[in-house]
Amino acid sequence: MLIRSILLACVIAGPLFADGFEQAIDNVGTRTVRLYGLKAGLSAGYGSGTIVSDDGMVVTVMSLLLDSERLRAVTHDGNVYGAKLLTADDDLQLALLQLNPLPRYNARGERAPDPPSGPGAFQYFKPGDSKRLFPGEWVIAAGNPFKVAEGLEQVSVTRGVFSARTDLDAKRKARDFPYQGEVLVIDAITSTPGTPGGPLVDLEGNWVGIVGRLVISNRTHTNFNYAIPVEVVQQFIDRYRNPDSAATDLIAENNVEPYHGIKLFEMGYQKDLVYVERVKRGSPAHQARIRKDDLIVSINGRKIADIDAFHRVMRTKSPGDMIDVSVIRKNKLVNTTITLEEPR
């Protein structure tokens, strides 16, 4: 009798101990799709996507996979849909897909009933708030790394913490990665084939980002585990939905450098270092007391490693901008502010 009660208790109570991640795992489990397409060359032929509307819109990362004519998406309940590319953004490296039912036939050639589609057919993520994440908070990412999930199996889930928020400075296959905006760095390993495109959620299951493509960080030369913040993803979706009102908030890079009056030492042995060779009298730099032989090490808190970096940063500035410049002069760090002027 006693044993029967214990057994009964176990059966009914199910998980007697819940560790607190149930909601998050349930959310990513039901709202992540596995993508399959043609395998071509180095592309893996599979990936992950995140459902963002109740009628089956899916956000994923750009990849060769999306060029497949027969792109398929499999939901958590094993239903197979066709996926049509709605739009993609090269700068964000994001793509938006629409899931549509595929006509399916069984072995006798009879058409099988379509899986649910249309408004209300899908469980989906509403955008959360990635700005509220604090380093050290739990995060859960989901996707189909190495396409280990098949058939009715759910996607793979990995747990880690949110590490940091930083701008992306990375390479992909030896070329600069186009997206250079803010990313959420995480300590779960998501730099695996098939994981990018899946969702990142916090402990409570709020959607905070999309796992980004495989890149190598320029700062550390290591594989980088990160997610594109949900705010950026949402902007991308909104731009598709209301193409007219879309505000292009990308910083236009001027081709002309505003006037500062600094001539750099561009010849010779240490040509990489940003040494000031001459400062034009009366120029903005002269007023800011920049001197000959100063070594410029940072502008607005960002490191200036070489002369290229100096010009690259300057081209993003406009006349009238004030920039904080740090220089090393006689082994002391000196900070000053230059007010840029019209190019001349």
Binding site: M1, G20, P135, T220
Partner: protein, 399 residues
């Protein structure tokens, strides 16, 4: 009795799932709160280091670090001489003993991480962060104040480096007593290597203690160039150790290949204390060498075919033809084995070796030397061999 138990079980059945779910979520929220306060505390003594100038080192890899030998390979156990114009070529060859980086990892030039060691401006960090040999170093404190830093000295064996900035009244890190570190306790690694104004965070547990010849704490928190030189902290924000790349072989970059793999190492307080005085005097610590070359034929065992002159071994009378039997009390069966037992012993520190000369075995205690202090290889056996006193097998010195 039975009835009581049944009632209790029933209670679990009814209230169990919902209550446990909320408790689980509360538990994880509590974890997050604890992590957060530890991180906020430790962020104050975690600094960002930026370097300018320097370059990726060349010749980063050498078979000396991996191959069956370390203290220098040889193809056939014969002197490596190629006759050219009637002149032996060996004299022109560079010193065969050279400190190498031990990995082909290409070091980036992004920011790195350090820990405030003392209120008067000493910063402890990893020598990994200066492999590019930069011309200028700056340190940014957590309150964004920036200073030019001097690299005082570095320990290339334990991968530590000491910086000095011209600042007072800094808030130094608080360290955990090494003896109280428990396997399985939370371990949080902080780094400034990804940029930004706050440290990046990775979390794991202490996986093992006394790794790397008793030097390091092992953790499964993800360590990488983003946090080498930074602190591994406990849930109270105190330093368990300073994160460094490490592997069981010499080389300043050895171990970087484990980055983000869940196998990371940190040096606790006592290992840092053991060398900071030396570093403060500006004395760097280098890889230690015996200065001997072994035969490559496996049947020869640890047969010496070349000894650098000068070198610690040459001065003690060891010559080609002798064999090494054991090092630091460990019986050896290959040259690789010898390297593995010495990779944490820097130049200047003693090693106990037992050497077979002819029919007898002798114990020696040479001080390892820096590669630059070793002379050219002597490959000829001594025509008039010096015969040291025989010692007994218990490694005791003769009276």
């Amino acid at each position: 009795m039975t009835k009581t138990i049944r009632t209790i079980l029933l209670a679990i059945v009814v209230t169990g799932p919902t209550l446990a779910g909320d408790e689980g979520l509360e538990l994880q929220r509590a974890h997050q709160r604890v992590f957060r306060s530890a991180i906020e505390h430790a962020a104050r003594y975690t600094v960002q280091i930026e370097t300018v100038g320097g370059a990726v080192p060349r010749g980063v890899i050498s078979d000396l670090d991996f191959g069956p030998t370390s203290e220098v390979p040889l193809d056939d156990g014969m002197p490596n001489m190629e006759e050219e114009d009637g002149m032996p070529k060996e004299a022109d060859q560079p010193n065969p003993f050279q400190d190498t980086l031990g990995s082909d990892f290409v070091v980036a030039d992004g920011p790195t991480t350090g820990i405030i060691l003392s209120a008067d401006g000493y910063i402890i960090t990893s020598s990994f962060n200066f492999v590019r040999n930069p011309t200028h170093i700056t340190v940014r404190l957590s309150d964004d104040r920036r200073y030019v830093a001097d690299l005082i000295a570095s320990d290339k064996v334990r991968k530590l480096a000491l910086l000095r900035i011209d600042a007072d009244n800094l808030e130094p890190a608080e360290w955990v007593a090494p003896g109280s570190i428990q396997i399985g306790q939370w371990a949080i690694a902080l780094g400034r290597g990804f940029g930004g104004s706050q440290p990046s965070v990775t979390i794991g547990v202490v996986s093992a203690r006394n790794r790397m010849m008793g030097n390091a704490v092992q953790t499964d928190a993800k360590l990488s160039p983003a946090n080498y030189g930074g602190p591994l902290i406990d849930v109270e924000g105190r330093v368990l150790g300073i994160c460094v790349p490490m592997a069981q072989r010499p080389g300043e970059l050895a171990g970087v290949e484990f980055y983000d793999a869940g196998i990371g190492f940190a040096l606790p307080k006592n290992r840092v204390d053991a060398i900071t005085d030396e570093l403060k005097y500006g004395e760097s610590i280098y890889r230690g060498w015996l200065g001997i070359r072994f035969s490559r034929r496996p049947m020869d065992g640890l047969l010496i075919v070349g000894v650098a002159n000068p070198s610690p071994m040459f001065e003690l009378g060891i010559r080609p033809g002798d064999k090494i039997i054991s090092a630091n009390g460990k019986e050896l069966n290959s040259a690789q084995h010898l390297v593995q037992s010495l990779y944490m012993v820097p130049a200047g520190e003693p090693v106990q070796v037992v050497v077979r000369k002819g029919r007898f075995e002798y114990g020696f205690e040479p001080l390892l030397a820096r590669a630059v202090d070793l002379g050219p290889l002597v490959t000829q056996p001594d025509p008039d061999p010096w015969k040291p006193f025989p010692v007994n097998r218990s490694n005791k010195w003769p009276k």
